[in-house]
Symmetry: C2
């Protein structure tokens, strides 16, 4: 969680780490989900590292196969945002002192299942014991056509903003997992909780976005925050219409009971959907790609000259209450 006395993750990266990456073109100033290493003449290798810590990024009681799935899928989601086809990954596993072999066996089973599901394979890593919390770091590699990997920069004024799937389920699911949302049915709570516990990265869609999208990001910090990251990196404003934001039936029911939950839906993290900047003339190509990937896409706003994230609800400006869920 963020402390007001200290700088946040984005400032920390901008101030201390971006200068270290200045000379590496494929790092894109650390402003996008992926870095790109030159591979063969026709491809780049997209690279992304993500760390998840017990009690911070997943619940302490989470099953080992779901911890494995979450660790792998948050990286796969970044590859999807880059338009990259999953290739291989490195795993660093820091086990707490009292680790059990049975836990590792379950963790490995979770990895094996997702390797088959997403067509990715382990290629190395490190295993250590820590006096602290269980920590999993995955560095995932994907393949993109040379120079075509997507980032947060590249959107242009007039581009539409699209979102895949449904937004806000994971943030509501975290509430459900913590025993809240009692006003909706148990089945709805279960649906939402599953969305929090087990991301479903949009790789089938992501790898079809090359040549269609101008920029993309995955929704890990929250819809407004991640759409805002595209806008900021592309030096534009983004305008979002709240009533266009795609919702699951469960989320819709929760919002009817308590409209204050909109702050969670728009500002909560962990959806692992994609937000995509697309020129209006490529709308049909995007919809065809989504059809092939069996994912719904919804146009929820547009990019324009200016700065910032602008939300409207019922045609009126609405407050952007939270800048995004802050894990940090």
């Amino acid at each position: 969680m963020a402390s007001r006395r200290r700088i946040g993750e984005f400032e920390l990266i901008a101030r201390y780490f971006a200068p270290l990456a200045r000379t590496f073109a494929g790092a894109g100033g650390l402003e996008s989900d992926n870095a790109y290493l030159p591979a063969d003449g026709r491809h780049d290798i997209a690279v992304k590292t993500d760390t998840i810590v017990s009690g911070v990024h997943f619940l302490d009681d989470e099953s080992p196969d779901r911890v494995a799935a979450k660790a792998l899928r948050v990286c796969l989601s970044d590859l999807a945002a880059g338009g990259a086809k999953p290739l291989a990954y490195q795993l660093s596993l820091a086990l707490p002192k009292g680790w059990q072999e049975r836990w590792v066996a379950g963790f490995a089973r979770g990895l094996a299942a997702d390797q088959r599901r997403y067509g990715i394979v382990l290629c190395g890593g490190d295993t250590v014991v820590t006096p602290g919390a269980l920590t999993v770091t995955i560095t995932a590699f994907g393949q993109v056509p040379r120079g075509k990997g997507l980032g947060r920069g590249g959107a242009r004024a007039g581009d539409d903003l699209w979102a895949s799937g449904t937004i806000g389920d994971a943030a509501l699911g975290l509430r459900a997992a913590r025993g809240a949302l009692k006003a909706i049915g148990a089945r709805d709570r279960k649906v939402l909780e599953d969305r929090y516990r087990l991301p479903r990265p949009r790789n089938a869609l992501g790898s079809r976005l090359i040549g269609i999208a101008r920029a993309a990001a995955d929704v890990s910090d929250g819809l407004l925050a991640d759409a805002g990251h595209i806008a900021a990196t592309s030096r534009l404003a983004v305008h979002i219409e709240r009533e266009r934001v795609p919702l699951s039936t469960a989320a819709r029911r929760a919002l009817i009971v308590d409209p204050a939950l909109w702050a969670d839906v728009l500002g909560g993290g962990d959806d692992y959907e994609l937000v995509i900047a697309v020129a209006p003339r490529r709308a049909r190509a995007l919809q065809e790609a989504a059809r092939q990937a069996r994912v719904k896409v919804t146009r929820i706003g547009r990019f324009a000259e200016g700065r910032g994230v602008h939300l409207t609800a019922g045609g009126r400006a609405a407050a952007v209450a939270r800048a995004g869920y802050v894990h940090f």
Copy 2:
């Protein structure tokens, strides 16, 4: 530290993680320091991930620039063992809850200094806050000629075993850092302690080993353990003559005072020297490469048919007391 009730790191990898890497040729069954991803027609990208945890892999009171250097250099050492030229790296930094911006500034300064020293550059990563110990994971990328990256397999019976630099300083240095080794002078203790705190990976030598060495590893688990890893992966025995093992003046003095320290010298980790399998006819080429890299190399043994690590001292078989320092 290892617990007798649980399996060790190598068994854990063999049992649970190697099966996940079976279909990726460049992973080499997770038996070597690096994995290799196909890059352009003339090169592969060597990849290595290493994690260091406060209080486990470095002292809790270590300065941030030295933590940065250690994290980067343990990975650079693996690239050296693979014969790879450093290219770029990803960084995952898990900061403890009470982190200070000043610490991060020092850490970034340490990275910047080593980026210049080793010709490597940051290309991405992740920053999180952990309820546990400060943890740094680095995934380093290096470049090797296509299909030529070195691993632990590939040594043949009759090959000589060579070691770079001096062996055992880091293990003695850890003792010195903990206030032991009072029988030798303060200056010697300082020299040894510096070797522990600040690895000096042999990248200048490593990148010259392509076409000369048949196999290589870095000395991170200890001389006997790491030479033994080459032997085991190459399905050979390795014979090492203790009196040939290259020692620093400080280590030599410590051994005169207390010969029991041989167990540390041969079995202690963190030297980050290279052990190299070289055909006898390539000895002069190796020595020329070492001269160019301004590193000493010493022939300390040979590989033969059979299995295991065989140590002689004064022409007699000596006990292999420890299988290597176990961080795990």
